[in-house]
Symmetry: C2
Subunit: 457 residues, 2 copies
Amino acid sequence: MSSAAVAYARKNHPRFLDELKALLRIPSVSTLAEHKGDCRKAAETLLADLKKIGLENARLIETEGHPLVYADWLHAGGKPTALFYGHYDVQPPDPLDEWRTAPFEPTERDGNLYARGAADDKGQVVAQVKALESLLAANGKLPLNVRVLFEGEEEVGGEGIASHVAAKPAHLKADFALVSDTELFAPGLPTLCVGLRGMIYTELEVRGAKTDLHSGMYGGAAPNPFVALCQIVARLKDENGHILIPGFYDGIVPPSPEELAAWRSLPFDEEEYRKAEVGSKELVGEQGFSVLERTWARPTLDVHGMPGGFTGAGAKTVIPAKALAKVSMRLVPGMTPACTFELYKSHVEKIAPAGVEVEARMIHAGDACLIPVDNRYIQAATRALREVWNKETVFIRSGGSIPIVGDFERHLGLPSVMMGFGLPDDNLHAPNEKFHLKNFELGIESVIRFLEEAGNL
Amino acid sequence: MSSAAVAYARKNHPRFLDELKALLRIPSVSTLAEHKGDCRKAAETLLADLKKIGLENARLIETEGHPLVYADWLHAGGKPTALFYGHYDVQPPDPLDEWRTAPFEPTERDGNLYARGAADDKGQVVAQVKALESLLAANGKLPLNVRVLFEGEEEVGGEGIASHVAAKPAHLKADFALVSDTELFAPGLPTLCVGLRGMIYTELEVRGAKTDLHSGMYGGAAPNPFVALCQIVARLKDENGHILIPGFYDGIVPPSPEELAAWRSLPFDEEEYRKAEVGSKELVGEQGFSVLERTWARPTLDVHGMPGGFTGAGAKTVIPAKALAKVSMRLVPGMTPACTFELYKSHVEKIAPAGVEVEARMIHAGDACLIPVDNRYIQAATRALREVWNKETVFIRSGGSIPIVGDFERHLGLPSVMMGFGLPDDNLHAPNEKFHLKNFELGIESVIRFLEEAGNL
């Protein structure tokens, strides 16, 4: 690796780590009103650094929540433009008493840096910025054009960035996005995430009597909305995980034989996953599909809660007038939120038992996304990662959604290179979040080398 | 009606009404700590009156909550002994702004007396006491032996009286109970309630993963406890209201052809009931049974709430580690709580879908009860009611449970004469509770004549 920028990064690594620690000390918890000032302070800290390392047009973009951080460097005439994305906000640190060291006092231990936000996502944001610094400091320029857009509301829904992107402002024009908010499939294994499931999140409301009734007086004559909801849900998904909504699976684009073969070669043990991650007595889901297929490339349906009625301790003999179910479906390529919602809505209306009225409401939705592995930026990233990590890159998908990736694609036409450096055991959203120090170092080098490769396209 | 006691009651009616009003002015709301003193005051008011009219051994019996009121008159050698039951506590008056006149300032309007507790149960308690006063004042004695036991915790579960009765103290030895806490089936129609459903109230807990999981990452592999609960509930009761637990209906004692014929002649319109009381688009339940059969003489199963998971506004994509359902079953004669619970428990364990563990817990239970209409005290009551109301008595059941009736039967071996004088539209537990003034008057006379009839047995 002969890159001058990589040499600069290695030399300056202790300072880079200090700067990351300084950012981690700011408790930028986006969901808590009392940390509003801390969120702005984290944004201003990043803004100041982007200016200092030589980016231009650096500014905060106000939203209804926490500000976006924008900066650019656009002097690589004829070269592609990258849009860097990450977020500076963090999850709340609770439960505090389960942290071995204070969540906002970053602490090195066993080759890791422990702090809230270490991996999600400040460590990755700083890796991006320090890669830019290294390139600018070593070469006086970047190998391609770069725009940076960091947000401070990722942990609370990302409304600000979503509406900003939806407005398609000219300053977001680019050729691809570099999204650093994901993880390696396994330690030391360079990983690109190339697919995300979409989703629809719905609320199902069932109404029976006009008012709450006593189950002694009316049980046997008045419809029970919870029983009706259970009967409906039981007719949405069977005990083999097969979804019973007619047309639900129509049009699904399955993974290619090559992609499936690649997944089979990943270091993944279903029994180990069951024991260590899930902890249930068995795994469930559609027969004939592996766990990775079921969670990455198959749609599913889950119920998250069933509000209404009596939920306290003890007993209350109420037949509630209404009951709700929070029901979401994960979608895969070939499915659309609108069409899936229509199929679902007309099915639940059809199967609702006698005596009740049912209403299906959409709460929010997101498209599935799939980035072809032969995309030139994905290929450039692969070359960079092979060099830095000394291994072939694995292409994975994620069962979850990263809404911003869909927004970049839908509104700006950008494919995303999801290159992240977390590890599966980094305790995101949990006590003792950590970032592996070696991954911080190799993450910076990976971004440097990726930009150099992408600049050669 | 030549009874001297009845003549006394008629003459003293204005004062009886004033005494009822005085009791209604005491806000003896048993569930609110700030009314603890008022509950005691109501108990002491009744105690003083029982002494004044000539009952003996009058005393408060302390419980862990509000006191019981006890008194007796046991000088009718060779005659049966009646145990009078009623309660002096009342429901909270909320919502206050829906009352036309203040809940604790009894107000006469349109032939009714409006106040919290007017019908439930102070009006009926005072009717019992004034019947005793009339008999003692007119005759210097009672036609049979009487024990009085009033409680102050009926609206909060009745723990105090339940444990007192369970201890079978000698001072509760009697031949039958007179329970005045029910209503007429229709205005002017003398009514005895001779059957109550029993119940088991359970909690069903389903556990999947060891911790809450993200439905994006794990949806399709991790078991979803809510989906499993829905599948279980859907296999407990079908869409025709038929309960699917094997053995559930075995041994049920159906109403006699005579009883069914009597129910068919009651002034009851199912469509009117649907519209006015339930307000659902259809009634539900087992086919081939009338509404009165389904709510009085058939078992049923209801779900009251399903705690767990995410129940807030909006969306959270959690697969909760566990979910609960509050499930109760109403039981009818021929079923026992213990046996029904066993059938239910083994069935849910058998039908639980793969991947989850299920646990059924009993929260509380009560026996069904049925008093034969040819019971001599029921027959005596019928003769008294015919004379006072000038109509044949109707025998009804109630779908609910009155736990004290089961306790009297189980612990003391007493059949209960459930002779109450409320009306279906008395707004129990709601704003503008009322007691029909004529029913207060005829209620007193009914109790007088019933005791006279029972004294002749």
